[in-house]
Amino acid sequence: MKKRYNLTDLDCANCAAKMETAIKKLDGVKDATVSFLTQKLTIDADDARFDDIMKEVVAVCRKVEPDCIIHL
């Protein structure tokens, strides 16, 4: 399943790149893009575990950039 989420307070481009790398490493994530310019996260992940995966995504993003909020 592919979904797109809006982000707020994603303030640095390098953090966006780091978030993207971290999300891609998660189990069950097929592909992910964090766009600093559109302030959007696009994620393609397993349907069955999608909600669990999103929880992990939020957790890793908080680690990289605590100010950034993902609008689920």
Partner: protein, 634 residues
């Protein structure tokens, strides 16, 4: 001031306050630890959030981030007694960040404004009154009302009213398009003159506007080679510079401690360990790759935005990048280089038939076909067709049509059909598509149909040549003679005629094999029947795609109107974008490298270092926003 966000305003006040405090302290006669204490006040005002984030990120295991590096550098400067410098550096850093933030926000806004074609409401009539509803809620088949000055919210067909439509937001074209009842209209156009009633043909999620917005928003996901390079570079750059900083401090300090002060090597002579610490701190300030990480994607984003201003939709940064290296451009003929509307220009019957008879038989046989040639035959035939006279219609792909008219077998098609029927046919001296007709198995004559080149086709080919395309090729299913005339008229280098759809793919493969390793091949078609070639080419360009889903699906670049000259425009936008990307990469790397070298020899201050970090990022962003300006190409 007014355009700043709340967060930015707060930062501006902090900067002003810290600057004022700094000046005040400069005037105080404080010395030693008193001075340190005084400078701590503006430092806290300006830098508390950086310090806080640095600590928090270390706890989270994020070591080499900007905040940490800035905190380390300024705390280090404080530690070596450079109080004023520490505050200045932090102040300068925050000013730079604010500028950066503002510039990025600004360009993001202008790109968003460009994409502001999403309609907010649709008018529907309820009990004789107009009601505004969300376009998402309008069902297919509903009749909506669009007043002059309003944007058409959904794709549909005009059922009543006539008007002129402004399609500029979609095509970049400034001449309005006239619509009458029966015409298909697409969402995103602005109704200029008359009231229109439109029957909706597609739900909101499938409307042209939704498709375009989706496409452009997704474009930044397909990254270019330059963006991949920068991401990889950034991953190694910071750790390397930090390591270099550590060595720059550790090695000389150890040597200074171990060696005899009287016999020091020249680069150590006259230095103490704190000098080396200071140089190492300068390294840390420069170690953030932000200028590149922001400006390169921003340039591509701007380039894609700029292209869409001209009515050119690019599906990804990678395609925009590839476009600049285009070496071969392959065109489909009909509908791409030529207008695609055929008209009968001559009728040459054999003895025994009149012109009218020949046309009538041909038009009847082609009655059920929607091929452009059939349409022109039907348009030229004056008598009303009576389909009941027609039976046993058989369409032979790439050849023509066989049918019975009033019980007489009739065959209408090209020379291949004649050969298949083993009928001798006569060539025609006129250029155009020749439609041969046999009645009862005997040759009855031919009809000449021609398709005129588009007005800008010749200029488009010349333009491509001028912008560095080495070879232009035209592929067509049409007859050799027609193709030759058109190719000569337009100045196309190479043409291949009488091709079946599969042959077009084969020729594209051959041309793909012939291009140089770095060169790219672009195929331009109108999206009808050429989806396989569009996908096979390095860059598939579909034109005249307003409302054609298949073309938008298959192509990498979509020209919203049907002007071949837009291809050269797209190439220019692409070249400009890449030029700006290169400028930014070399400028940022150059300045950083220079300051690193100067810093290692003790010739750079922290001022230069902060400039190499935030100053360069700011300038690179300003440069990147130039990608959005495409007025010169329109």
């Amino acid at each position: 001031m007014r355009n700043l966000s709340k967060k930015q305003k707060k930062m501006l006040w902090r900067i002003l306050l810290a600057a004022a405090l700094l000046i005040a302290i400069k005037l105080l006669p404080a010395e030693g630890w008193m001075a340190a204490l005084c400078y701590l006040v503006p430092y806290a005002v300006i830098g508390w959030d950086v310090l806080w984030r640095a600590v928090r990120n270390i706890v989270h295991g994020q070591v080499f981030d900007e905040n940490f590096l800035m905190a380390l550098a300024t705390v280090g400067a404080f530690g070596t007694g450079e109080y004023a410098e520490a505050v200045f550096v932090m102040l300068f850093y925050q000013v730079g960040e604010l500028f950066q933030d503002y510039a990025v926000g600004k360009s993001r806004q202008s790109i968003a404004a460009l994409m502001d074609i999403r309609p907010d409401y649709a008018n529907i009539e309820q009990d004789g009154e107009l009601v505004q509803v969300d376009p998402e809620e309008v069902a297919v088949g509903t009749v909506i009302v669009v007043k002059p000055g309003e944007r058409i919210p959904l794709d549909g067909r005009v059922v009543a009213g006539s008007s002129a439509l402004d399609t500029a937001a979609l095509t970049g074209e400034s001449v309005p398009r006239d619509v009458l009842p029966g015409d298909a209209v697409i969402s995103g156009c602005v109704n200029q003159t008359g009231l229109l009633r439109i029957q909706v043909t597609k739900p909101c999620s499938e409307s042209t506007v939704s498709k375009i917005l989706d496409l452009v928003e997704n474009a930044s996901e397909k990254k270019s080679a330059s963006e991949h390079f920068i991401t990889r570079f950034a991953r190694y750059y910071t750790p390397c510079v930090v390591l270099a900083a550590a060595l720059l401090f550790a090695v000389p300090s150890v040597l200074l401690a171990l060696l005899n002060p009287a016999s020091l090597p020249s680069f150590l002579a006259g230095t103490v360990w704190s000098n080396w610490l200071h140089r190492a701190l300068i390294f840390l300030v420069i170690s953030c790759p932000c200028a590149l990480v922001i400006s390169v994607p921003l340039s591509f984003f701007g380039g894609i935005g700029g292209a869409s201003k001209c009515g050119i939709l690019v599906k990804g940064s990678n395609f925009l990048e590839a476009l600049a290296q285009t070496e071969t451009v392959v065109f489909d003929k009909t509908g791409t280089l030529t207008r695609g509307t055929f008209s009968v220009t001559a009728v040459h019957p054999e003895s025994g038939y009149t012109q009218e008879q020949l046309l009538e038989y041909a038009a009847l046989a082609e009655h059920y076909s929607n091929h452009p040639i059939s349409l022109s035959l039907k348009a030229a035939c004056r008598t009303d067709p009576d389909a009941s006279r027609l039976s046993d219609v058989e369409e032979i792909a790439g050849h023509g049509i066989q049918a019975k008219v009033d019980g007489h077998p009739v065959a209408v098609g090209n020379s291949r059909l004649m050969e298949r029927q083993k009928v001798s046919w006569l060539p025609c001296e006129l250029p155009g598509t020749i439609v041969h007709v046999t009645i009862d198995g005997f040759y009855a004559g031919h009809i000449v149909i021609s398709d005129l080149p588009k007005d800008d086709a010749k200029a488009a080919i010349a333009d491509l040549k001028a912008s560095g395309v080495k070879k232009t090729v035209m592929l067509t299913g049409d007859a050799e003679a027609v193709a030759k005339t058109v190719a000569a008229e337009l100045g196309v280098d190479e043409f291949h005629a009488e091709l079946l759809p599969a042959d077009k793919v084969a020729w594209t493969e051959t041309l793909l094999a012939a291009r140089s390793a770095r060169g790219k091949l672009a195929f331009v078609g109108d999206g009808i029947n050429d989806a396989p070639v569009l996908t096979r080419a390095d860059i598939g360009i579909a034109m005249g795609a307003m409302g054609s889903d298949a073309a938008i699906e298959a192509a990498d670049i979509v020209l919203m109107d049907d002007k071949p000259s837009k291809i050269a425009t797209a190439m220019r936008v692409s070249r400009k974008t890449l030029r700006i990307v290169k400028q930014n990469i070399w400028f940022a790397l150059g300045v950083k490298a220079a300051v690193l070298v100067l810093g290692a020899f003790g010739a750079a201050t922290m001022w230069e270092a902060v400039f190499a970090d935030v100053g360069v990022a700011f300038l690179a962003i300003l440069n990147a926003t130039r990608c959005l300006h495409v007025e010169e190409f329109r």
